[in-house]
């Protein structure tokens, strides 16, 4: 891992390492995003990318109205959030589940993001390949990334439209384009923003709020926090349904 990080540090050496104002031990390579991080929502963003939600199309509004979230301002007991049956969270929603670490690994040609929540990962190709013209939909999309100065810019498409964008159940189509911009602003902080373009769902691009990831402390580790359908089913029967007043409560 360190070897790979070193390989990627070369551009940083050429560009000069960034230093903190305090002059302490704050040297870092702004092009090294590797490590275990905890992402943080923009305050009040309701576990979403934040910003102002654009006007929805009729299709998106109908889908939004049919969804029954268990969290946020529209939250009610029970509901039909896909995660309650362990369906994949999908991207970008997985980024907003902030109590779980995200490990970023830089290797030649790729940056891998491992998400402890749902114990899954995505690949961001950095080998110069273009986005495919018509990729098969995936829950975590198809992503390519490149450096723009010290900003890592990720373009993604090919998202499965069964996922919710956030806990409030904002929908998207398979034609969604997503741009992420990551910038490591200190040894222990990466700032990032997301911009979503999906004309069949939103009448203008959705520009998210600035969010950040901070380096997890030494005690944090990936611990296989997978969502197991059989476990979830038992929880539903024993806890969620009775607590929420479902008819099958015992």
């Amino acid at each position: 891992m360190r070897k790979y990080a070193t390989a990627f540090a070369v551009p940083g050496v050429l560009l000069g390492f960034a230093c903190g104002a305090a002059g302490q031990n704050t040297k870092f390579d702004p092009r090294d995003l590797s490590g275990i991080w905890m992402s943080h929502n923009a305050r009040g963003s309701n576990f979403s990318m934040g910003g102002t939600v654009p006007s929805m199309t009729g299709w998106a509004q109908a889908r939004y109205d049919a969804a029954q979230p268990g969290l946020g301002p529209r939250g009610k007991p029970l509901g039909n959030d896909p995660m309650m049956i362990c369906d994949p969270m999908g991207f970008p929603r997985i980024m907003f589940w902030t109590n779980y670490p995200i490990e970023m690994i830089q290797i030649p040609g790729r940056i891998l993001m491992f998400f402890d929540w749902f114990y899954t990962y995505r690949t961001i190709w950095t080998d110069g390949r273009p986005l495919p013209a018509d990729p098969d939909p995936r829950f975590y999309g198809y992503s390519v990334g490149k450096w723009d100065g010290d900003t890592f810019v990720v373009q993604s498409k090919g998202f499965d439209d069964r996922t919710w964008l956030d806990a409030d159940a904002h929908p998207h189509t398979e034609d969604m384009l997503l741009e992420e911009r990551y910038r490591r602003v200190s040894p222990d902080t990466i700032e990032f923003t997301m911009t979503l373009t999906d004309p069949k769902a939103y009448k203008s691009p959705w520009v998210g709020a600035k969010m950040n990831m901070t380096r997890a402390d030494q005690a944090t580790r990936m611990r296989e926090d997978v969502c197991v359908p059989s476990v979830e089913a038992k929880y539903k029967e024993q806890i969620r349904n009775p607590a929420g007043g479902a008819a099958q409560a015992k």
């Binding site: 939250g75 007991p77 109590n99 997890a216 611990r223 926090d225 476990v231 929880y235 009775p242 607590a243």
Partner: protein, 128 residues
């Protein structure tokens, strides 16, 4: 909220998401606490819902099976040093929960005291 988290040891968790419990938190009345004495039947130590069932006997001897859920292992390990061995069937426990809004014998854990004196005080959780 932030202050409370700092007091808990500057854990890198977002307070709001402490409650983002897979869509179940909203089922509980966070303005009310119920304290029960019981005996553990089952301790389910899994992601993302740790919960345990326990039998509570009333003055007439009638037994009701309650269940209390709490945060996932990721958080309970770090905040309270829980492990899969923290409880076992037969343990005597005093359990304070925020109860189900619909009156079911289910609750979200506010405080747990075990027979050997271990205390898990979750009651400082934000109630936003």
């Amino acid at each position: 909220m932030k202050t409370a988290l700092l007091l808990l040891g500057a854990l890198p968790f977002d307070g709001g998401l402490v409650w983002a419990h897979h869509g179940s938190r909203i089922s509980y009345d966070l303005t009310k606490e119920v304290t029960l004495k019981g005996v553990v039947k089952e301790f389910v130590y899994v992601n993302p819902h740790i919960y345990f069932t326990f039998d509570v006997k009333d003055e007439q001897g009638h037994v009701t099976e309650w269940a209390a859920e709490t945060d996932p292992p990721m958080m309970m390990e770090r905040r309270f040093q829980w492990s899969r061995h923290y409880l076992k069937p037969g343990d005597a426990v005093t359990v304070t929960v925020w109860p189900s809004k619909v009156g079911a014998p289910r609750g979200f854990l506010a405080k747990l005291v075990t027979a050997d004196g271990k205390v898990t005080d979750h009651s400082d959780q934000p109630r936003e």
